[in-house]
């Protein structure tokens, strides 16, 4: 069944057992919504220099948006910012691939994305791509806040 390509076991696992869920202290917070379906996420980031100390979040949404936040937490916490950005870019590329991406390319991406390659199947469903990206956009936003504040502080 084609659906299984979207609802990979990895995704359902993350959905049922989310990593790092809950709001904890952070340096910046972003609240994103998906107006088409009402999904919402509040996400906080905490940095130590360029190292991601924590990504905490709370929200409501479908399995895809919830699992994606969980995967994000798992992937990014502990990473340096440039590496995290590379992961985010790769994830974005995967999600925008409209299901057209070759298995070989997916295999390459897997090195970067780990569990998150499981979202490849979601890219075929335009309405769901936004769900998968919700937490990533919130992360990008919160991170931008942190570093633009630092820059302002430095300036």
């Amino acid at each position: 069944m084609k659906l299984d390509s979207m609802y990979q076991d990895v995704i359902l696992d993350h959905y049922k057992h989310p990593h790092g869920r809950g709001l904890r202290d952070g340096d910046a917070e972003a609240h994103h919504t998906n107006p088409t379906c009402g999904d919402e996420i509040t996400l906080r980031v905490r940095y130590d220099g360029e190292t991601i100390q924590d990504v905490s979040y709370e929200g409501q949404g479908c399995s895809i948006s919830q699992a994606s936040a969980s995967v994000l937490n798992e992937l990014l916490v502990g990473k340096e910012l440039p590496e995290a950005r590379r992961i985010q870019d790769t994830f974005l590329e995967l999600m925008q691939s409209k299901g057209q991406i070759e298995q070989a390319d997916i295999d390459v991406m897997e090195d970067v994305l780990e569990d998150a390659v499981a979202f490849a199947g979601v890219s075929k469903y335009p309405a769901r791509v936004k769900c998968a990206l919700l937490s990533w956009m919130a992360w990008k936003d919160a991170t931008a806040q942190v570093f633009s504040e630092k820059e302002r502080g430095a300036a």
């Binding site: 084609k2 659906l3 999904d39």
Partner: protein
């Protein structure tokens, strides 16, 4: 069991008029289209009328002496006659064509913002709506309130998905200029009791705007019976094309109130210094109207009338009764809104345990079953009931009890999938 439902239409015959219903999706699943509250499908009669219009009669309307212009004008204006008859309007000149119900509602809100006394909405006056309105009947009034300084108030909802009209006398006051509310909820299917509200509005001299977007397609609509001042609805939900809406308004109001959009067709005479306006309905139809779409809507109401709006209503009522029964058998399923078939239309929203509606919709889709998920442009209702979203199934004249069964079976499958 399903064959014994009383009041059903001959859907086998009707479905032949809707080619899209034969579509097969996802490599093999037969389409079960239960997203009619979002938009309806179109019968070939309407599509043929569009093609015929463009292939034989297309011209700009109202200003030509040549054959095509006369034919196009006659077709366009006879669509107005048909719509007027469909809603039992006292006069064809009370039927204004817009692009959709949203424009119709914005039109009224804007008119009232620019109107003279006694209609003018301004600081110190009040606008009353309800918590179950579609965003298209909320945001125009929020904008009007912000821009004029008027106060926006609303009727709340009961736990059972009904309008709470107990406070009608306190909500609608001498300061109220306009009450805008829906006849049928697009998310819960609730049919609202307009009578006490309209009576109170008349008492205080407030205008009443009825959003009939979810009523006009499904039940007999008689604007004279209704006793409202304005009634809005939209073509694409009632077998008509996209791009066409209707605003019915009482003649003297349309005469007294100022125009909304300015442009060609809506003027009487123009100088650089000032202009005078054509009589209604033209005053409110600036620019080239959606000619083909009006013609299509005319044929759509012919189509619905030929079947009979009361028969369509009965058919949907029977389906709703059956659907409520089947849905209530599903564990963890919670109907948001009236959980019987009484005083409700054929639109049913529900949640299924803690499975997010997005996931419900996706797994149903895989089985060919098209429902809508989300807040259905009625987010305050979701807030009211403390849920992020709902799954909504909505039926129309071509739906069958077998499709209700498909939905119920599909939902069982969803439960298993996420178990």
């Amino acid at each position: 069991m399903t064959s014994t439902l009383p009041g059903l239409l001959d859907t086998e015959a009707i479905r032949k008029d809707f080619p899209i219903l034969d579509r097969v999706v996802h490599d093999g699943a037969k389409l079960v289209y239960l997203d009619n509250a979002a938009t309806s499908q179109k019968p070939t009669q309407v599509l043929d009328a569009l093609a015929d219009y463009y292939e034989r009669h297309n011209a700009n309307v109202h200003r030509g002496v040549h054959v095509l212009a006369e034919e196009a004008t006659a077709l366009y204006e006879s669509a107005r006659d048909k719509v007027a008859e469909f809603i039992n309007a006292p006069s064809r000149d009370e039927v204004v064509f817009t692009k959709n119900a949203s424009e119709s509602l914005n039109l009224v809100a804007n008119m009232l913002g620019w109107a003279d006394e006694p209609y003018r909405v301004e600081r110190g006056t009040e606008i009353v709506i309800t918590e179950m309105e579609h965003h298209s009947n909320i945001v125009p009034w929020q904008l009007l309130a912000q821009r004029t300084g008027a106060e926006l108030k609303w009727f709340g909802l009961t736990d059972g998905g009904r309008l709470d009209v107990s406070g009608v006398d306190e909500l609608i006051t001498e300061r109220t200029k306009v009450v805008a509310l829906t006849l049928v909820s697009n998310i819960m299917g609730t049919i609202n009791p307009l009578e006490p509200i309209i009576r109170r509005a008349q008492e205080v001299g407030a205008l009443v705007v009825v959003d009939a977007s979810q009523a006009a397609p499904h039940m007999p609509l008689d604007v004279q019976d209704l006793q409202a001042d304005f009634v809005a609805f939209t073509g694409h939900k009632m077998c008509g094309p996209t791009g066409i809406g209707v605003l019915w308004g009482r003649q003297e109001l349309l005469e007294d109130l100022p125009p909304f959009l300015g442009g060609g067709e809506m003027i009487e005479t123009v100088t650089m210094h000032s202009s005078t306006y054509a009589p209604a309905p033209h005053k409110f139809e600036a620019g080239t109207p959606p000619v083909a779409q009006a013609v299509g809507l005319g044929v759509a109401v012919d189509y619905l009338s030929a079947i009979g709006m009361d028969r369509i209503w009965q058919h949907e009522h029977a389906l709703t009764e059956y659907a409520v029964r089947r849905l209530r058998e599903i564990p963890d399923l919670r109907i948001i809104g009236p959980d019987s078939a009484e005083d409700r239309g054929a639109t049913i929203s529900f949640t299924l345990g803690d499975i997010h509606p997005h996931d419900v919709g996706q797994v149903l889709d895989e089985q060919g079953i098209a429902v809508r998920v989300g807040h259905h442009c009625a987010r305050p209702v979701c807030l009211r009931y403390g849920i992020p979203a709902t799954t909504r199934a909505s039926f129309y004249l071509y739906n069958t009890p077998a499709e209700v069964d498909a939905l119920a079976d599909g939902l069982e499958h969803v439960r298993n999938f996420f178990a």
